[in-house]
């Protein structure tokens, strides 16, 4: 009777010819676990360092300065003046907000339409062309988009509105809208795709057309994700630097007109930081601009993430 042959030369787990303790796989495993944990902590470290160093370089302006917080909240941004240096953030905040609002007014509806088209209407073949193009747009460097704005869009805006210069908030807003679209479209599309198919089937079964289903069922169901997508896109807009530096015209004034030159917070930091002496009043003031920007983008991103996390599962 043939019994299944069992190998009797299996090494025992505690045999004496094991490698020394620090070369045993179990030890290596623990060690690597710790190394991985430490590398994962670098993300926290970097974020902490960013907040700490931007904050600590901004703090001297608020503490031992004759203008302090009051100087930031009142007056103009005029750091180059030899008689009356002023570091009022309001014109810069105004510029950033104006450009962001223009970009949002253009990008939000356009992205929503495009995301709806890609997720609900276009077939797989059409999407295999459309989606790489949207990804390509996300890949174009902002300085190239700014360069295009400078060379093509700004002259066009100048001609259409009959202005002396096309470098204004409108040109910048239009460019930024284009730059925000990939983020807005791809995350909105994900949100629409995550709406369960049963919703669409139920709607169609009740007699709704495809378009009615999209408008009254799919879009409302995907709204939280879409909102988050729009907030993330706006976060990208408000933090965008090179394109606005090249096409806003860089005039730090208080205005609500889209056809005026404005200056954003990001452009101010980029344009002026190269020319200030380290440790000067102006240097610290630019870090105050950075802190304002950091908080604005942080709030936008965190609210977007909170919405995403809350509504992630249906």
């Amino acid at each position: 009777m043939a019994t299944p042959s069992f190998p009797n030369n299996v090494p025992a787990l505690n045999s004496s010819n094991q490698p020394i303790w620090c070369l045993q796989p179990q030890f290596t495993d623990k060690l690597i676990g710790w190394i991985l944990k430490i590398t994962a902590l670098t993300s926290i470290l970097i974020v902490a360092l960013i907040f700490f160093y931007i904050g600590s370089e901004a703090a001297p302006f608020l503490s031992d300065n004759h203008m302090g917080l009051e100087g930031l909240l009142t007056g103009k941004w005029n750091p180059a003046s030899s008689v009356d240096k002023q570091y009022g953030l309001l014109p810069l905040v105004n510029g950033s907000l104006l450009v962001t609002i223009i970009a949002g007014l253009v990008a939000v509806p356009v992205s929503l339409a495009a995301a709806t088209y890609i997720a609900e209407i276009a077939g797989p073949t059409e999407n295999s062309i459309l989606k790489p193009i949207i990804e390509l747009l996300a890949g174009i460097p902002s300085v190239v988009i700014g360069f295009f704005g400078l060379m093509v869009l700004a002259p066009a805006v100048k001609a259409v509105f009959g202005l002396p210069s096309g470098l204004n908030a409108l040109s910048a807003g239009l460019l930024l809208a284009l730059m925000a679209m990939p983020t807005m479209i791809s995350i909105s599309e994900d949100a629409l795709r995550s709406v369960p198919n049963a919703f669409r089937e139920a709607s169609v079964a009740l007699g709704a057309s495809k378009i009615e289903t999209i408008f009254f069922v799919v879009l409302p169901a995907g709204l939280p994700g879409i909102t988050a997508a729009m907030l993330l896109g706006l976060g990208r807009v408000i933090g965008e630097t090179m394109a606005v530096l090249m096409v806003t015209g860089n005039a730090p004034i208080l205005t609500l007109s889209p056809l005026e030159s404005v200056r954003t917070m990001t452009a101010t930091v980029a344009a002026e930081m190269g020319e200030v002496p380290f440790g000067s009043e102006h240097y610290h003031a630019l870090f105050c601009v950075g802190v304002t920007l950091l908080f604005a983008t942080f709030l936008l991103n965190m609210s977007a993430q909170a919405i995403l996390r809350r509504f992630q599962t249906h």
Partner: protein
Amino acid sequence: MSAPNSPNDPQKQPTAADQKAPEVFYSGTPTQTPWLQYARNQRLVTFALRTITYTIVFAVGAIIFDVVAKGLPAINADFLLAMPSHSGAAGGILPAIVGTINLVLIAIAMALPLGVLSAVYLKEYAPKNSLTSTIQLSILTLAGVPSILFGLFGLAFFVLQLGFGTSVLAGGLTLACMILPTIIVASVEALDAVPIAFREASQALGATKWQSIWTNVLPYAMPGILTGTILSIGRAAGETAPILLTAVAFFLPILPRGLFDQVMALPYHLYVLATQHPDTAAVGPMQYGTAFVLLLIVLGFNLVALALRHCFRKQYKW
């Protein structure tokens, strides 16, 4: 038992609830308005959405066409391989190309190991606790920090605090911080896509956790990690704001020789030529030539990543 609210009851006046009754079928449909009549028109709405989508495609095409059509004639061996002269109005862009390559190499050398190992920890090891969610929160935060703030941070920390000076090292490290979240997120997604059975099978055969990750998980996640890395190389090569304050020089017609040298970089070179150069006529072709080379490098990396993803998606099926 009589139904007091029945609409068939002739004695009873119709109430508000009765009038709304037919609309119960469309619970999401509000009252009829002209706008909604248009919104229900299938062909009109499809046409509008398609037009808007293709407007974006047109804009992308316009940007790429403009740069390629005007930039291609400026490209020749001399432009790519010579030193610039007349503060960028003549000569080539070799130092800017070399500078960008150096910056990207340093950034990837730092961010790739950190990013992949962090991703392995988050996906394979991390317990569900407050530390893990703090790490995840900080990655999301890092992904949302505007690029100019990375520049400010790099200036305050790498350039001044650590004393690297305005150098290719400081710029590369700043870029590394910027692309770290992209690499982590891409790597986590790649690890997620490897079936859990691969790990279980390996561990059931007696491999330790790390052995099974090293031999049975990472190889299959590699294509995804590679795609994410290539995408972030493209992003790092195209960014201007982080290196503006930490690494670049206005005009520097020599090649960098060490980690602590200043460099020229393509995106910054384009910015300077486009906005700061007084001689606009002479500098025109140089601008478009630089823009073309930059776009070629960045979009080239993007296309390679797209192609890789496409290939590997076909190769591995489970």
